[in-house]
């Protein structure tokens, strides 16, 4: 049996899975939308992966989870490494573009900027409570206009005279877009204006004066949007590179981190995990005054993991 390395990125909007062989080739990559249940979406990915692993006679050498659902899925799958998404994304970016200086990552709910010097991360910033300028806002605008997110991307780059949209807050941006629409601006110009507003908002409120030097990488789900790429190029005055595996960079980085963890024997709970009936249950731990809300992960009547504890007890 040959060993492969698995990275799972459980984000707010999508679940991404990347499976590498020991020469760092991507054998399997999948991007699925979460639709409210991370456990089921990971199981769906695992179903496909299990078939591939059987065909190629491979086993999991190490597993790393990342993204906002990393603790939950890590406990469920038996992860060897649980890593934050900032480090995972940076690892993947440095692998593909060793000379990278700035990584802009825009996902479903988060937007982050990571500053890299000589192949190591030296600084980062992440958006606070405001979700303006992230994927979910673009999603909701696409829904409002009754077009797909891909169509939104195509339409925005057809614009010739992008109009100015207020980008500080999604609610105001939306009213402004409706205002411009009633004034008679074309949809293309409004959408491109929105992209400019998002890029401006990102540079003003997330990057906040950090030096954004070239080469700049744009990754995460929103990097598939051509209008956003163009808007960033415009705002930064340099080329913005969208890396090869831009949609699954988090999972790719996680898989690389799993490979580098030098795990002798993986804690992975088996490729057949997608057939198991897995659900969760909330309990309050009363061992200390913290009274943490613990989530127990139950695999057919057996508790296989717990998350949510603040004291580090398992």
């Amino acid at each position: 049996m040959r060993r492969g390395f698995l990275g799972i990125d459980v984000g707010s909007i999508s679940t991404n899975v990347v499976f590498l062989d020991k020469d760092r080739n991507i054998l399997f990559a999948s991007y699925v939308r979460v639709s409210g249940n991370p456990i089921d979406s990971v199981k769906a990915c695992m179903k496909e992966l299990a078939r591939l692993m059987q065909d190629k006679e491979m086993e999991i050498g190490a597993l790393c989870t990342t993204g906002s659902g990393r603790e939950l899925i890590g406990a469920m799958m038996g992860a060897d490494v649980v890593k934050n998404e900032i480090s995972a994304h940076a690892r993947a970016a440095i692998e593909l573009h060793p000379d990278v200086c700035t990584i802009i990552e825009i996902g479903g709910q988060d937007s982050k900027v990571t500053i890299v010097e000589n192949g190591t991360v030296v600084d980062f910033a992440m958006n606070l409570v405001c979700a303006a300028g992230t994927g979910s806002f673009l999603d909701s605008q696409a829904r409002r206009l009754d077009i797909s997110i891909e169509e939104l991307s195509r339409r925005s780059i057809r614009s010739t005279h992008p109009t100015a949209i207020a980008g500080r807050c999604t609610v105001f941006a939306e009213s402004d877009m409706i205002n411009k629409q009633q004034m008679g601006h074309t949809q293309e110009d409004i959408l491109m204006g929105l992209c400019h507003a998002l890029a401006r908002n990102f540079i003003g409120s997330v990057a906040r004066g950090k030096p954004l030097r070239a080469p700049v990488l744009l990754q995460g789900g929103v990097s598939a949007n051509l209008g956003i790429v163009r808007a960033f190029e415009n705002a930064l005055g340099c080329e913005v590179i969208v890396p090869k595996h831009h949609m699954v960079m988090g999972a790719y980085g996680a898989a690389l981190l799993a490979m580098e963890a030098n795990v002798a024997k993986s804690r992975f709970r088996g490729a057949a995990i997608w057939t198991h009936h897995i659900h969760t249950r909330g309990v309050v731990c009363e061992d200390c005054p913290n009274n943490c809300e613990i989530i127990e992960i139950i695999d057919t009547d057996e508790v296989v993991g717990r998350t949510g504890g603040r004291c580090g007890k398992r």
Partner: protein, 367 residues
């Protein structure tokens, strides 16, 4: 039946404050952290834009009022928090809500503070209580420092935190000065009994910022524990013993770090007082950089004027002295996961810095 007096949360130090209040002839109403219920009450009652610690104190006093507590004690901060109307605002908000609880300050009007006039404690027991309180503060300082040191190296995760809780419980139950002193002397032995991994070389991180956030684990979402369990030895720069020395000139075994000395250190970057503990935060960051700390974490409530205004200053210090600073800002919407992500990514950066600097001589100064 003694009247009850609610005292503000100051983390573990509330144990010592409670002992002092006891000696004043009132029964203390206290807790070492703001619980969820009090937090919810405070958030509902306070103006939306007010800072998180204010909401926590307000909620704490509303909860006390619900429980039938007649009086509360609140101090204005040393710096200019809410332009010195911190207590006044709490008082007015509670009055507007129709709450009956009476808020005392420590301010003098005439001969003695109103709170003393009201309870009129006999002098000798009062002095004795204050003395025991001071002794307890020193014991808690020791507990805090031992905890930070042991937690980063413990083999069984969580053991140190349990011991800390046990120590605080025991401390709240002893009432003579001699016992407290013996208790304090015994602390290093008790913490040494925890199994530690001596080979570990934990990151050293200084914690600076706003007082309530540094001390109330509900407000800082257990930041000390999160860092400790990830193998970080923290130094929380709010130690009440040191603080009393700072502001009243009563030395409690801490010769360094008086407000004056810190002002001199901060001078090149910040020449005046901006309120709260912000000038101290700048000075501590400079000191830590000299002592070879790996990084600083600066916590502040969202919208806290003094702490927010030193952010750019800390950034300059960070660039000049090559010490990374992580700014965390907290309000009731702060998501624990987002904070954990930031902290983890920050620690990743620090470990990679460590690896790169391995060849360089390491500075291991003490503060």
């Amino acid at each position: 039946m003694k009247e009850r007096l609610a005292i503000p949360n100051l983390g573990n130090y509330t144990v010592a404050l409670a002992a002092m209040v006891n000696g004043m002839g009132a029964e203390p109403w206290w807790s070492t952290y703001t619980n969820d219920h009090a937090m919810a009450l405070g958030i509902a009652a306070a103006p939306e834009s007010v800072c998180l610690p204010f909401k926590a104190h307000l909620g704490h006093f509303i909860e006390a009022d619900d429980a039938g507590v007649e009086n509360a004690l609140m101090v204005n901060s040393i710096g200019a928090c809410r332009l010195n109307y911190y207590r006044g605002m709490l008082e007015e908000t509670l009055k507007d809500m129709g709450r009956k609880i009476r808020i005392f300050g420590l301010g003098f009007d005439g001969f003695k503070p109103p709170v003393f006039r009201y309870f009129d404690p006999p002098l000798i027991p009062l002095l004795r209580a204050v003395y025991i309180g001071v002794e307890k503060i020193r014991a808690i300082d020791t507990i805090e420092m031992q905890t930070a040191c042991t937690r980063a190296r413990e083999i069984n995760t969580g053991e140190t935190s349990l011991l800390m809780e046990r120590c605080l419980r025991e401390l709240s139950e002893i009432h003579t000065k001699k016992e407290v002193r013996l208790f304090r002397k015994d602390l290093p032995r008790r913490f040494a009994a925890i199994g530690i991994d001596n080979k570990r070389d934990p990151l050293r991180i200084g914690l600076v910022g706003e007082v309530s956030l540094l001390r109330d684990r509900q407000l800082n979402q257990n930041l000390e524990q999160i860092l400790g369990h990830r193998g970080v030895e923290i130094k929380n720069f709010f130690l009440l013993g040191g603080e009393i020395g700072n502001n009243f000139g009563i030395t409690m075994g801490y010769k360094k770090n008086t407000a004056k000395q810190l002002a001199v250190v901060a001078k090149p970057y910040l020449g005046c007082e901006v309120g709260g503990h912000s000038r101290d935060s700048v000075a501590h960051t400079i000191n830590c950089a000299h002592a070879g700390f790996d990084a600083m974490v600066h916590v502040c409530p969202a919208g806290c004027m003094p702490e927010v205004s030193i952010r750019p200053i800390l950034r300059r210090v960070s660039e000049d002295m090559d010490i990374p600073v992580l700014h965390l800002s907290f309000d009731e919407h702060t998501c624990a996961l987002g904070m954990a992500t930031r902290v983890e990514a920050f620690l990743d950066i620090l470990w990679s810095r460590r690896r790169r600097c391995l060849g360089r001589t390491k500075r291991q100064g003490r503060i």
